[in-house]
Symmetry: C2
Subunit: 232 residues, 2 copies
Amino acid sequence: MNALESALSEIMPFPLFAGYPRGMVLELCAGGRIATTDHRQVLFQMGEPASAFAVVLSGAYKLTKHSPGGSDVIVHFSTPGDVIAALIMPQAKPMLPVTAVSMGPSRAVLIPRETYLKVWKSNPELIFRIQNLLSTRMHLLQNHKMLTRAPLTQRVADLLLNLADEKTKQGSALELSLPLTRKEIADSLGASVEAVIRIMSDWSKLGYISTTDQQIRVERADKIIDISIGAD
Amino acid sequence: MNALESALSEIMPFPLFAGYPRGMVLELCAGGRIATTDHRQVLFQMGEPASAFAVVLSGAYKLTKHSPGGSDVIVHFSTPGDVIAALIMPQAKPMLPVTAVSMGPSRAVLIPRETYLKVWKSNPELIFRIQNLLSTRMHLLQNHKMLTRAPLTQRVADLLLNLADEKTKQGSALELSLPLTRKEIADSLGASVEAVIRIMSDWSKLGYISTTDQQIRVERADKIIDISIGAD
DNA sequence: CGCCTCTTTGAGCTCAATCAAGGTGTGTGG
DNA sequence: CCACACACCTTGATTGAGCTCAAAGAGGCG
């Protein structure tokens, strides 16, 4: 609980809690604990009963579902400020709808379902803020659906731009704030790794993007934007 | 307002209003009016300011977005009991995120935004019911994302099953409760009409499905289910 | 009767999947 | 410290599902 209090200053600026007094945020986190996860460690396992939901503090988590066909599909990337499994808390016997896997070392606040039912549920303002996060997610999913007919190059460009952190903008360069492998891009787009690699290699050669370790940098945002809207 | 009162008996059984007294439902519909639309008539136009949201009464509406590439994509099929544009009502200056087009003659209750802000917003229970509808929609979108790698046959089968009305089950036959063209199936899956036609023609020849007018009937649900899970 | 939507079938072509093989870096146990 | 496994990246060759283009028949409607 002590670690939790020290994390308060991290939580409070998130849109979810913006403007709320310290005491109130503390109340909203009642019974919560900080989970620290390593690269590829599982935070939530799909199918298990959901006794808590999470607010991402730092790092990132990929939310995956495994299709009957064997291969996993990435449904969403959760970055700091995002909630995981909050939508299903009001259900009678909530089951986790996705598996959440850490991308690099990450931290999240796990808040027990009881706290949600007791404190969050009766706060309409807060419910709307969660709804806003979901609205974003829904928008991304709809966007993805819109691009099913588009060539893969366009879909990759779109993904990079969606994940590019606006805050890191320097001139025409953007930086992705999460470590992202080609495989993960492929799993998120429903494509093969090889195809993603071929596309991104071309862009690297052209100087549109650069990769160090697993940090992707969009060097020529203008070009990538052109591609993402199909103007190539 | 008179027509509205006569529609009350239709609205009240919807999960959205289930268990609420007549007077309360009437209050929730304050200022509302019934919109009757013909086949292919536009109920909502994407991009326009949203002064009202809708609860579908009868028939169906397809929610579409037009991609920069020109072609339209169907994001969702809204059937009776579903809400359209409710999620964005709390926003300061809400714009319609989709175009809603009538599929066959349909009816919907248009409820002004003010009523939402005055009556709906302060009712947490109601907000959760809307969230449930959205949860369903989100689940469908995630499901669609999961199937991006699956062959088209599987995706078509999955769509048919999603739209099949459980209530119409007769033995192993299911009926789709909305008139659906091959083009609409294609637009929903991000595929070409021709490909959809070829697949469904095969199924018709095999006796798995039958079409009269634009009412699709799944004759051999077992076979279609097999195909939808990739067991073909 | 001409226009429009919806359906159908055929032929050719292309994008991206699959298969195959090799390279690199990191962690792990002997 | 080496060997081995494992995750990730890369490149090439082959193939096929599904797109595009083309052409045409069947209602429904003003």
